[in-house]
C-alpha cells in the first residue's frame, strides 16, 4: 500500500493530487506505527504528517502553480543512482537481526533499563513520555530550538524583509539617476 502510494506520487503530474497522496502516505504510515507498538509516534505522524504538512503544501500550491511540467531530462542517471544506493542499503541489512527478535542489540542495552527504572524514578505510565521529557530532556530542548529557528526562518522568508530592502535600494538608484 505504502509503496503503491509512493509510486503514484512519482507518476502523478497534478500537484494537488500529490499533496493529497502524501497525506494518505502519512496516514498509512501512522497505521503501520500502531501495529509496530509505537502509538505516540503514530499520532504525532497522523497530526503532523497528514495534517500540518498537507496544509503547508496546499498553501504553497495556492501561492505557486498547480501542475508539474514534464521534465526534459532522461531518468536513466537518477534510476542508476537509486538502484546502486538501494542495493548498498539492502546489502547493509543482510547481517541485521531478524525483525522482532528479543535479543537484538537494540533490545539489550538501554531500552530495558529505561523500562525497569522509569517505574520508580519517574512514575509515569507512558514510558515514551518519561524518556522524552526526563531522560532525554536535552533532545527535546534542542528540538524546540530547531522549531524556533525554522519558525524565524519561515517568517523572514515570507514576510518580505529582503523584498522591502531591495525596493528601497531601487528607489535609491532611481533618485541618484534623476
Amino acid at each position: 500500500m505504502l509503496i503503491l502510494t509512493a509510486i503514484a506520487v512519482v507518476r502523478m503530474h497534478s500537484l494537488f493530487a500529490v499533496a493529497m497522496l502524501s497525506g494518505v502516505f502519512s496516514l498509512l504510515s501512522a497505521l503501520l506505527f500502531v501495529t509496530l507498538d509505537a502509538v505516540d509516534v503514530a499520532f504525532t505522524e497522523a497530526a503532523v504528517g497528514a495534517g500540518i504538512s498537507t496544509v503547508l503544501v496546499l498553501g504553497t500550491l495556492a501561492l505557486t502553480s498547480r501542475f508539474e511540467k514534464p521534465t526534459k531530462r532522461s531518468p536513466i542517471i537518477p534510476l542508476f543512482v537509486v538502484f546502486v544506493t538501494g542495493a548498498a542499503l539492502i546489502y547493509g541489512t543482510l547481517d541485521m537481526p531478524n525483525f522482532g527478535s528479543p535479543d537484538a542489540p537494540a533490545q539489550t542495552h538501554v531500552g530495558p533499563d529505561y523500562l525497569e527504572r522509569s517505574v520508580e524514578e519517574i512514575d509515569i505510565p507512558n514510558v515514551v513520555t518519561a524518556i522524552l521529557a526526563s531522560y532525554r530532556g536535552y533532545d527535546t530542548l534542542g528540538e524546540t530550538a530547531v522549531v524556533f529557528t525554522a519558525g524565524i526562518g519561515v517568517l523572514l522568508l515570507i514576510s518580505g524583509f529582503s523584498r522591502r530592502r531591495r525596493r528601497d535600494d531601487d528607489d535609491d538608484e532611481e533618485s541618484e539617476e534623476t
Binding site: 543512482v81 542499503l89 525483525f99 525554522a150 522568508l157
Partner: protein, 145 residues
C-alpha cells in the same frame, strides 16, 4: 557470509527491504523530478521510511506498546517494545516538519523571484542572468568577459 537464505531469514528481513524500496522511491523523486514542491514531498517520503526503519527495530515479537497500567503495578511477564526509538523518532518528526516548512517557504520566495518552481526553468533564467552580467562586466573592462 554468515547467513543462510531460509524462509525465516527472508521474512525477518523483509521489513528492512521494503523500507529500503520506499526510501529509494523518495530518493528517485528528489533526484529525477524537476518540480520543487514534488521534491519536498519526495523528501518527506524518504524521511518517513527512515522513521519506519527505526521503529521496526524497536518492535519485539509478542510485545505491546510501552505504556504501563495506570496503577503502575507492572506485570513482569508482559513484554514491552523498546521505547527509545519511539522517543528519537518523535523528535525527528517534529524536526522534519520544520525543515519542510522552511523548504516550502523558500519555494514561495523562489516563485516570487523567478515566477516558476521548475528546476530547469530556474537554471535557464540563472544562466541568462549570468550571461547578461558577464556582458556588462566585459563592456566596462573594455573587452569580452
Amino acid at each position: 557470509m554468515g547467513f543462510e537464505l531460509t524462509q525465516e531469514y527472508i521474512l525477518g528481513h523483509m521489513n528492512y527491504w521494503l523500507f529500503s524500496v520506499l526510501m529509494m522511491t523518495g530518493l528517485y523523486i528528489v533526484v529525477a523530478k524537476g518540480n520543487l514542491v514534488k521534491k519536498i514531498v519526495g523528501l518527506n517520503i524518504f524521511q518517513t521510511s527512515v522513521f519506519m526503519l527505526y521503529i521496526s527495530t524497536g518492535k519485539i515479537t509478542g510485545g505491546t506498546a510501552p505504556i504501563f497500567p495506570l496503577d503502575m503495578e507492572v506485570d513482569p511477564n508482559v513484554i514491552y517494545s523498546n521505547p527509545l526509538p519511539h522517543v528519537l523518532i518523535l523528535t525527528a518528526i517534529v524536526v522534519g516538519i520544520s525543515t519542510t516548512a522552511l523548504g516550502l517557504a523558500l519555494i514561495v520566495r523562489i516563485q516570487e523571484e523567478f515566477n516558476t518552481i521548475e528546476e530547469d526553468e530556474i537554471l535557464e533564467i540563472e544562466r541568462a542572468i549570468v550571461l547578461a552580467e558577464n556582458a556588462i562586466h566585459g563592456d566596462s573592462m573594455g573587452g569580452r568577459a
